[in-house]
């Protein structure tokens, strides 16, 4: 098994609600895997299970070949999984500056302090935030905050980054710009990524392989072209229908 991150038959029950009903997925090194699905399909919970923030009710999670979670148990705590995350609401810490965010992440690792400056400088250059090191989140624009969030996810050189709808509520132009940036930075750093979204376009732009999640199950898998060619899931069927209507009107 050479997957960086894999979920095997993961079930998740929160209270009485069954949220994940046996999903399995594997993320290969360097790969960007898209998870596509409507709101409420269980995408965010899958991310939290992968991160170790939630324990699966049954099933297992492996990180780099190590058993990380097993039904009802988190064996490897989140901070030891070597994963990065960008949340939908970004979750930037209001009391820390841009630099503060990155330093906090670095300080949690056994890395000599003198290397921090270079690492931070390089990454901020890559995400286009140079010169904004001392700003607080409240002093940044929407796009800049996204960049801080991605920088925070990458500063620890994680095995994989989990992107949980990071681009919702942005305009199309900014979305494209940031998608390009994500693609470029992930490529430069050779990091794998799990990209979770409800927007098929976004997913197709960043990820080659897509999984469709519906009501806690993975219902379809393939490239964008494969999915739309053989829409077996409701979600994809609607997507195809919508694409056809746009094509007809234009």
């Amino acid at each position: 098994m050479n997957a960086l991150l894999s979920l095997e038959n993961v079930h998740l029950q929160l209270g009485r609600r069954e949220i994940l009903r046996g999903i399995s997925l594997a993320l290969a090194p360097g790969e960007v895997l898209g998870i596509l699905g409507p709101s409420g399909a269980g995408k965010s919970c899958a991310v939290r299970v992968a991160l170790g923030l939630l324990q699966p009710t049954t099933g297992t999670v492996h990180v780099a070949g190590r058993l990380a979670s097993r039904g009802g148990d988190v064996l490897l705590p989140p901070e030891e999984r070597g994963l990065g995350v960008v949340f939908q609401d970004l979750a930037l810490w209001p009391h820390l500056t841009v630099r503060g965010h990155l330093e906090f992440c670095l300080s949690a690792q056994a890395r000599p302090r003198r290397t921090w400056g270079d690492a931070i400088g390089e990454l901020l250059g890559q995400v286009g935030l140079r010169g904004k090191e001392e700003r607080f989140p409240a002093e940044l624009s929407g796009g800049e905050r996204q960049r801080v969030a991605i920088a925070r996810a990458l500063i620890t050189s994680p095995r994989a980054v989990l992107l949980d709808e990071p681009l919702s509520n942005l305009d199309v132009a900014l979305k494209e710009e940031l998608l390009d940036l994500f693609g470029a930075v992930l490529g430069e750093r050779g990091a794998a990524a799990l990209f979770v979204t409800h927007d098929a376009r976004e997913a197709a732009l960043l990820a080659r392989r897509l999984l469709v999640l519906e009501e806690g199950r993975i219902v379809q898998e393939g490239t964008f072209a494969e999915l739309t060619a053989h829409p077996t899931s409701q979600f994809v069927q609607r997507l195809v229908a919508s694409l056809e209507r746009v094509a007809v009107r234009s």
Partner: protein, 421 residues
């Protein structure tokens, strides 16, 4: 937080005083000194900080914590992310405690500790009435109050909090071996907080104080409740209007908020004497001579408690709700009553409840000017404490505790019902 601190002080006296349940010379000499004053007030005010911090943590987006958990150990997450992010709330708690402790007369007087405000008001009265000197001595207090105000302002400056609940149940931070220690500390503090009340209850029970309570209670329960409820209703109403204005317009709002905060941090006795000067005129007798003056006093001292939470609550709601109503043709009052108030009904209820509780525990201000014949329960306990039969005083203290408990309990039930509906 919910009781006048001199009630726990009375309880500690029942415990540690020379003839207390576990009384000893050493215990008594500790209690009747600066150490005892600090001890009693610390325990009495601990809930202020913990409650405010807990509220802030509850209101905080759980993903702050989750994002940190992916890179750092729980301990570091708590110390570097959670507590600093909740710091403005904790610091506000600190300021509130400072202000309350600064105004506190009951405990230091009971324990015979000479704190500055006690000293000042000794100058103000008694055999040697010298208001000029007393007001000169008050000036440093006002300076401190202003300092607090500025400190609060400074804290508030960098507070771009987006507070929203994700609705996910929060996983407790695994404390590991620290868990037992932390649990122990929490239980110890809780136990220490309840201990003096237990001692009071014991004293009242043993001395059959409860049998005589009715005789000494007078109309103080209804006096307390009615005035507190009236003040809370008034402040919640004005708090909604002003808090809404503050959250939306931001013009002149800073000054208003500052004024309200200044009133809160100003030593209550200064406020009380000021109220006598302002309201005791023939034209205002209807107010000054009646329970209305209590309402006026509470309103003056506790307006910040209505203004601040409602400002925050309204500020966090999207303006689009009101804008939609305005587009639909609703006027200002309709918008406020039909849109803003229902949306923030929980905040309104919680605010009302908090003000009632603060009014019930007010002693240091109302003792100065309560109208003849209308003695709030807290004041009555305080005045009866002198030479009054101990079991009765203890029983009255238990009554006030129970009254506050009932009010808080009903309030929480109502809040919970609102939440689930």
């Amino acid at each position: 937080m919910f009781l006048p601190p001199f009630l726990p002080a009375l309880g500690w006296f029942q415990l540690l005083g020379r003839q207390g349940l576990v009384g000893s010379e050493a215990g008594a000499s500790f209690l009747f000194g600066p150490g005892g004053d600090v001890f009693v007030l610390t325990l009495a005010f601990t809930p202020v900080v913990t409650t405010l911090t807990a509220l802030a943590l509850q209101g905080m987006d759980p993903s702050y914590e989750e994002a940190a958990r992916t890179v750092a150990r729980p301990w570091r997450v708590a110390t570097r992310i959670l507590l600093p992010a909740a710091w403005p709330a904790s610091a506000l708690g600190g300021i509130v405690v400072f202000a309350l402790a600064f105004s506190e007369l009951g405990v230091p007087m009971f324990l015979r500790v000479r704190v500055y405000p006690v000293a000042v008001f000794a100058r103000l009265g008694g055999v040697d009435y010298a208001p000029g000197e007393a007001f000169a001595l008050v000036l440093p207090l006002l300076a401190v109050a202003l300092g607090l105000l500025l400190a609060e302002r400074w804290l508030g400056k960098r507070r771009p909090f987006t507070v929203r609940g994700l609705g996910l149940s929060r996983e407790p931070i695994p404390l590991g071996v620290w868990r037992n220690l932390a649990t122990g500390i929490v239980w110890t503090i809780t136990f220490l907080g309840l201990l003096p009340l237990g001692a009071l209850f014991h004293r009242a029970l043993v001395g059959r104080g409860f049998l005589l309570v009715g005789q000494w209670l007078g109309s103080s329960i209804s006096d307390s409740l009615v005035t507190a409820a009236a003040a809370a209703t008034f402040l919640t109403g004005t708090g909604l209007v002003l808090g809404h204005a503050t959250a939306r317009l931001r013009r002149g709002a800073g000054a208003l908020d500052g004024l309200a905060l200044l009133a809160f941090v100003t030593p209550a006795t200064a406020l009380g004497v000021g109220l006598i000067q302002v309201w005791n005129h023939a034209a205002a007798s209807a107010v000054y001579g009646s329970a209305a003056i209590l309402v006026v006093g509470y309103a003056a001292r506790y307006s910040i408690l209505g203004l601040r939470p409602l400002t925050v609550a309204v500020g966090q709601g999207p303006p689009s709700l009101e804008e939609a109503a305005a587009v639909a043709g609703a006027g200002y009052f309709r918008r406020l009553l039909r849109v803003v108030a229902p949306v923030h009904i929980r905040a309104l209820a919680a605010t009302w409840l908090m003000i009632v509780v603060f009014c019930l525990r007010d002693l240091e201000m109302s003792v100065l000017y309560y109208p003849a014949g209308t003695e709030p329960l807290a004041v009555r306990i305080f005045t009866l404490e002198a030479n009054g039969p101990e079991p009765v005083v203890a029983a009255l203290a238990c009554t006030l505790s129970a009254l506050t408990g009932v009010v808080v309990g009903i309030g929480l039930l109502v809040l919970r019902a609102r939440q689930s509906s």
